[in-house]
Subunit: 366 residues, 2 copies
């Protein structure tokens, strides 16, 4: 039987690393980080529309982002915006999704295949993304296994998990390399990452998942029986309209990642090698990669005057404010109506320290 | 005959070096650069009140600053705010002043002595300033000469003019050293400035002047006859209410400094050595000297979060905006409601380049 394909965009991230542009109610996926015209979530929904019927696009998020997301992408049906009542990591997100699908259609298990994709990555071109996803879904549907997309590394990045590919190659009609997975690997140190890069046998874990609902539940039952039981309990409660019971059942599972709960333990796991360009836009300094630097290697957005300055990222969201820099190098300068951030690009991750300080004083600029 | 003392505060400076805090209509003297509570002009008027009757305090400025100054220091009589119709440098400023005094009272020449003081310097303590000024005025009144205040250098500053002291010391009852002036010196190079510093015979030119109106006019007639004629012509026109004629007469003099037009050529010139602390607050980096750095050597004003940052000046005028810096060193960060400036302290003078850029595009943020 042919499967009904749905696309689920994971859009619950808090994106603190782009403060002050990102906020509690405006995380990274709601920012125009990769394009002056479109937010990351708009771009993700557009990609999903290339894959499935618009009525089959879902968002998985957290309660306080339902409103902002509904406003940002009104083309997504309101009932398809699913909010986990509590944070239970990516395993919880996918349990909540499966339970909702089962609650809405008791026959879903046999019918549905799912592309779980991300909102906070820069992906281009769209056609190559579509080819890769089609290969992943075809593989999931034909094998009943769990499929992820892996990114061919171009640097010994220590900030990502890696996937070690196995020997088994699966054919597909999209020109995509799909192989069995030997092992998932945690974020490595630099020496290990360099070895991974040189071996050619490791791909970055993109955090995307492709499976039939039946394949997912079958593997979940074996690998994570508590999570599997949770799916059934939540689906049952939701079908009865017993929201509180659903939330209580959901609260009972541990907060762990889907990699740890399922992927690392599952029997049939495959990886499709991305045919597209991918960037995680993980922190301010990543804008060097996703936006176009000018002749002085400055990335500039908004009303900016840069004099004798090189290799900076200077971005402003405030139309009436002129941001002027003279003689600076290697800095991130981000300006909003109520906040200014200045940090060296080499320390872009340390914006977390600002966010922590703001949290500690319950600052409204969070 | 005892003289009637008046104090004239020169307050026409444009202060572009403190952009974005300073603006065309809010130059340096209208900023709270040396105190969180008082503008420089408020502090200057307070010092003038220590010297003369409040009704005898005058401001010399330019037309577009009359309104802002009247608002900032309402304790100065409105009719005492004198605006030169055109920019004619400091010589023009003092010509316009003398002409106004003569137009208002034809007998002023024989009666008035004048302290011409500045609005854009940090001066403390007040009592020592008063002692020094009294010595300068006493000297001017007893000799009929031109007196300035000199600052004992504490560094080989190349940004100031210097005064070479002569051998003649004049007694006074205020415990102030008053000496004849051998020569005025232009801004020196570093080697020359170092020699000046080591010799002990040179003081910084503070740009203050103390004279009787008669002494001023007598020396001016000899040194700068065109300027002298201008005083008489403008006074005559103003006394007749012929404003346009006054402005036309004023427009005819060249735009030169009082040092060049008069002080360097005058016969009887003296210098009183300042008994007070003095700082010209010439650019953003000078705030290190006039405000108190914190334990990390940061000078901070406004809503600022500084993390692992040292030796910066981070100042904000915007109550609702949080300015956050992480891992930066040696920068000036200045934030207003419509502008942000970031420049290394070592290049603080280069804010002029920003102002020039703004001028070239007729930017409203000037």
């Amino acid at each position: 039987m042919a499967h009904t394909r749905i696309a689920v965009i994971m859009a619950g991230g808090s994106g603190e690393r782009f403060w002050p542009f990102s906020r509690l109610k405006t995380p990274k996926q709601l920012l125009k980080l990769a394009s002056p015209d479109h937010t990351l979530i708009e771009q993700a929904v557009q990609r999903a529309h290339d894959l499935v019927d618009p009525a089959s696009v879902y968002l998985a998020t957290v309660p306080h982002l339902v409103g902002p997301l509904a406003e940002a992408v009104p083309e997504v049906p309101a009932e398809n915006i699913l909010a986990e009542p509590l944070k239970r990591n990516t395993a919880g997100c996918l349990v909540w999704l499966a339970a909702n699908l089962l609650a809405r259609d008791p026959d879903a298990r046999a019918k549905v295949s799912i592309a779980v994709i991300t909102a906070d990555h820069v992906i281009r071109p769209a056609a190559d993304f579509r080819r890769t996803v089609c290969a992943a879904l075809d593989t999931a549907e034909s094998t009943g296994g769990l499929v992820t997309i892996g990114i061919r590394p171009d640097r010994p990045e220590t900030g990502f998990g890696y996937i070690e590919m196995g020997d088994n190659t699966l054919p597909n009609e999209h020109g995509i390399t799909v192989r069995s997975v030997r092992q998932f690997r945690e974020k490595p140190d630099l020496a290990t990452a360099t070895g991974y890069l040189e071996s050619g046998q490791y791909l970055w874990n993109s955090g995307t998942f492709f499976w039939t609902l039946d394949g997912f539940l079958t593997e979940l039952e074996a690998a994570a029986p508590n999570h599997y039981a949770c799916v059934l309990a939540v689906a049952d409660a939701l079908a009865r309209g017993a929201t509180e019971a659903a939330e209580a059942a959901f609260a009972a599972i541990p907060s762990i990642s889907i990699d740890y709960a399922l992927m690392e333990k599952a029997q049939r796991v495959f990886v499709a090698e991305a045919a597209f360009e991918w960037d995680d836009v993980g922190s301010w300094d990543a804008l060097d990669r996703s936006l176009s630097p000018d002749a002085d290697s400055n990335v500039v957005q908004g009303d900016v005057i840069a004099i004798e300055s090189r290799d900076n990222i200077v971005v402003s969201q405030v139309p009436g404010t002129v941001v002027t820099v003279v003689g600076i190098e290697g800095l991130v300068v981000a300006v909003t109506a109520d906040a200014v951030l200045i940090v060296p690009k080499s320390r872009a991750q340390d914006v977390k320290k600002v966010v922590e300080t703001l949290k500690s004083r319950s600052d409204p600029r969070l």
